[in-house]
Assembly symmetry: C2
Homo-oligomer: 151 residues x 2
């Protein structure tokens, strides 16, 4: 929700990912994903990478605040999409057909895995490896929600 | 290194973090750190948070490309420092005296833990919990370099 003065209400502040007995709830989820076997051009053109990341954020249900993308020489893109619900970041090594992505989301309305689907498709990644972590204060942060084998 | 046209050479592309028998080397390191017991104002003023993150990046030995910081209502800051060696990101919940930080660095010249020291000091964090992961293609990414107990 955008308020006068451009401030945005971040909702909800405390978004439990699952029911548990802990008195301290996780605030967010953080997915680290390695995208391998990507098509060189798809992760070496700043326009393509930025479009893919923007569309991934929207598909996940996020509200975009800012895009910041940079191209490196001779290869590679770094970029961040700042969303109201935290951020999506990417760093690509086209020469290795590899992109490192992380998606930090808060709230129950955003699904980072929908963003992953978009990126896998756009970059034509043939195999991936993912890890998802709980973020938040105290003991809840030690949790790993999921960790995939390479597939 | 900034080249004509504003392109930056990202160095080195392949930066082994440690010697091992793997034929595939990690490209980067990704530190997730929960900063707890932070002083409310220190993580609720966008200027203070941005200055702390900028100084943290510089202390780590990184080269800054872009800063992107946003304030939320009623509380909270989200911000990213895009560096030549990847990124530093922060999301704060002042009402919980908590900040979620992640630091993705490439190359041997950048030490993310020096950035952590700056942030702990500036935000007056009383206790922290950290996890560090290897990023890169193939089997190396399953590695956890370190994982701290809360201290």
């Amino acid at each position: 929700m955008v308020e006068p003065g451009g401030l945005v209400t971040r909702e909800p502040k405390v978004a439990p990912l699952h029911n548990n007995a802990s008195s301290v709830l996780p605030l967010g989820r953080h997915v680290l994903i390695e995208l391998m076997g990507c098509r060189f051009d798809a992760i070496n053109e700043v326009g393509l990478v930025q479009d893919a990341m923007r569309d991934a954020a929207l598909k996940a249900g996020a509200t975009i605040r800012e895009l910041s993308f940079h191209r490196f020489s001779p290869h590679g893109i770094s970029g961040v999409v700042v969303i109201e619900e935290s951020h999506l970041a990417i760093h690509t090594w086209p020469e290795l057909n590899y992109a490192a992505v992380d998606l930090f989301t808060c709230g129950k309305s955003v699904d980072p895995w929908k963003a992953v689907e978009v990126l896998v498709s756009r970059f034509e990644s043939t195999h991936q490896k993912s890890r998802e972590f709980v973020r938040g204060p105290s003991d809840v942060v030690s949790g790993t929600i999921s960790s995939s084998a390479e597939h």
